[in-house]
Symmetry: C2
Subunit: 420 residues, 2 copies
């Protein structure tokens, strides 16, 4: 680390690094015990957590953050119960640490083995929802890592208490509290220390808005796993069955519009436009969606508002969708190349040539044929956990499971071999 940070903040990084060695040595069973103790502590500390959360809610009301954000911020007894249940689920997940990834013997007899090991210290910079504090800590711990958290200021009071409760639970079972740390009390300086903490932070995961992620990716000198931003496309091919087109687009937009795997732009082949656009637009409008269409879409359905260049570039995360008629699959692929964030794209088609071309040429983390983009999700993929969805190509791509929170190392066992 080349920059000067307050000594107390550096101590926090050092403490996390030291704690990472302790947690790396815990067995799978011990880590499950620790996680269950954390779950118990969350439930038994409900009143204290709810009281702290009320402080955040009061500030949220005063700051006029809006009902949606207030709801995401709120922790009540039921939500704390389900947060604890999620931690117990994580405790049951298979431990990736120690998994033998591969190995072989060298010609000279040296036995090589590549095994999964924890990263060490996972840093996380995130916004808004206080449950992320517990989620990330649990996932990091299950995969043998210490974690240093930097939460959003809107959830400050809740996060402070959640971290305190988890640290108390760690100590109660005889594990150093520094396995779960926070740098929230250092404000922006804390976030900067995570981003510049080479030698202390082994990987940094930003979760939140596109601008938060952009800042972290741009400013960090520690390795980052970029997550999230999803300007997601669905292409309705000339051969797309009406029912699939309508149901998949409506599902991908309305089932949960505020998340990164929701569709944002629909591209319709011109030779199917007349057949598909009216029904798809109608289904969307029945779901409360505002369709932002180009001229040809506007000509085929009523209630469509004009799309501008901006719309192609927008991740709405709301009940809005952009729609455009394209002259060819080539034009659709070019549009996706230009505007996609590389998260998820899907084509609706019965044409084998077009489906294979789409799968091969679209350069996104998940490329689908005839399925809703909402399936891009760690839970749906069967990973049992939601670490985030990587939109970069290094290390992890797409939904991340616990094993994406680990690295590997090579073990070499010899009997005196030297290199000739």
């Amino acid at each position: 680390m080349t920059e000067n940070f307050p000594a107390e903040l550096v101590d926090r990084l050092v403490a996390a690094k030291e704690a990472s060695r302790a947690v790396a040595r815990l067995t799978s069973g011990q880590k499950a015990t620790v996680l269950n103790a954390i779950a118990d502590a969350l439930v038994s500390s409900s009143a204290r957590i709810v009281a702290a959360n009320q402080g955040d809610l009061d500030r949220g009301v005063a700051d006029n953050i809006g009902d949606g954000l207030l709801d995401r911020l709120r922790l009540d007894e039921a939500r704390i119960e389900s947060l604890a249940a999620a931690v117990r689920d994580v405790a049951k997940l298979p431990d990736p640490v120690g998994q033998v990834v591969g190995g072989h013997r060298l010609p000279n007899g040296v036995a090589l083995e590549q095994v999964r090991v924890p990263f060490g210290v996972v840093g996380a910079i995130y916004e808004a929802r206080p449950n992320v504090t517990v989620d990330i800590a649990a996932l990091a711990l299950r995969s043998g890592n210490a974690v240093l958290l930097r939460g959003g200021s809107a959830a400050r009071d809740s996060n402070t208490v959640l971290v305190a409760v988890m640290r108390e639970a760690l100590e109660a079972v005889g594990v150093t509290a520094d396995v779960i740390g926070s740098v929230d009390d250092f404000g922006r300086e804390g976030a900067r220390a995570l981003m510049k903490g080479r030698g202390f932070i082994d990987v940094l995961v930003p979760r939140g808005s596109a601008s938060l992620i952009e800042t972290v990716v741009t400013e960090s000198t520690v390795p980052v796993i970029e997550t999230g931003a999803g300007n997601v496309h669905i292409v309705l091919d000339e051969s797309a069955p009406l029912e699939w087109a309508r149901d998949i687009v409506a599902n991908a937009k309305t089932q949960r519009p505020s998340v990164c795997n929701a569709v944002e732009t629909v591209l319709v082949h011109r030779d199917a436009a007349e057949r598909l656009v009216p029904a798809v637009v109608e289904a969307l409008q029945q779901g409360g969606v505002t369709v932002h269409g180009d001229d040809r879409v506007q000509g085929l359905a009523s209630g469509v508002v004009p799309a501008t260049e901006m719309d192609w570039d927008t991740e709405y995360l709301s009940l809005d969708v952009a729609m455009k008629v394209v002259d060819s699959l080539d034009e659709a692929l070019a549009h996706i190349r230009q505007y996609s964030t590389g998260h998820t794209e899907s084509i609706i088609t019965t044409d084998l040539h077009n489906s294979e071309r789409f799968l091969a040429e679209v350069d996104s983390a998940v490329v689908m044929v005839n399925a809703s983009t909402r399936f891009t999700d760690g839970g749906e993929f069967g990973f049992g956990a939601e670490v985030g969805i990587s939109t970069q190509k290094l290390h992890a791509r797409g939904p991340m499971g616990l094993s994406e929170l680990t690295s590997t190392k090579w073990l070499a066992r010899g009997a005196g071999q030297v290199r000739a």
Copy 2:
């Protein structure tokens, strides 16, 4: 990319990105054909390459860069032949692209498949030896990537011709020349464009001095694979057999002292010091090595120069080694934690408890028992190629094979499924 670069430099990035789509679609057989054409072109252009290389050598002599660097810089007909042979070897390596890494069906029937895909554009910033220009281009191409190169100014003329020869060979077999590009003609601005080229450069691999790597890691906003720096340790445990200790230390230091897997510090358990130090020091000195020892080492062998704090921190890359007597395995592990660059460490021991502790607790890319650290090498590991040795934990750790130059993507094939 948020910064302003000259339009012609941006064009270079755009051209590489476009070329990456072309090379990603080549079959394994087509890529082998292209690589063999490049090998042929290198051989048939020997005279032109040697002539350009003479310009670099003349400048090197004028700049007094020293015999070692001059030798690394030199290209003669024989070296060009072996460079071409290396390219032909790369052409024979199994193609990682298209490899199915995993997959399963979701409960609703959607078929998931995770497949290896090229990164897209691999950037490389490197120094000195012109053969790296060809090595990296060949490895990137074999794994389906386009490459943008930024070589060292000392090899400027050689690199210019090598890139030109490879580009001509690409065009001659009908592949866009921009699969292999260089930004050397833009000077430092070219390197900066690679480091800041988000959206154009998918991964950046620095190869060279510690300071070069530090600069790239610190300044890049594109994902970097950190390679190289090796402050490598060997621990001589109390139980270390004299012969293994002597032969492995001497091999690890003298077999090729200028490379990253050569040992730099030897830590000797105090209860074995009297037995081991004299013989190990003698073997090293016979190999021309200067031993920098602490007080106790100096007391046990003659001709040892005093070690200072600096020595523990130094990657000599020369016929020098630091040696220290430690009171315990704990002290050796603590020393390694403090000074190691996380590349390779080895313990010489016959004690099972100590060997297992060393394997478990040393946090390095390769951890060895009773073997020379010189085995940390892509070729020795059987990867058939030397992409570099990653000392970071993200994406790749230790010797990198061709598959480390790829990412993955998820393919999802459904029949109208939507999320409930």
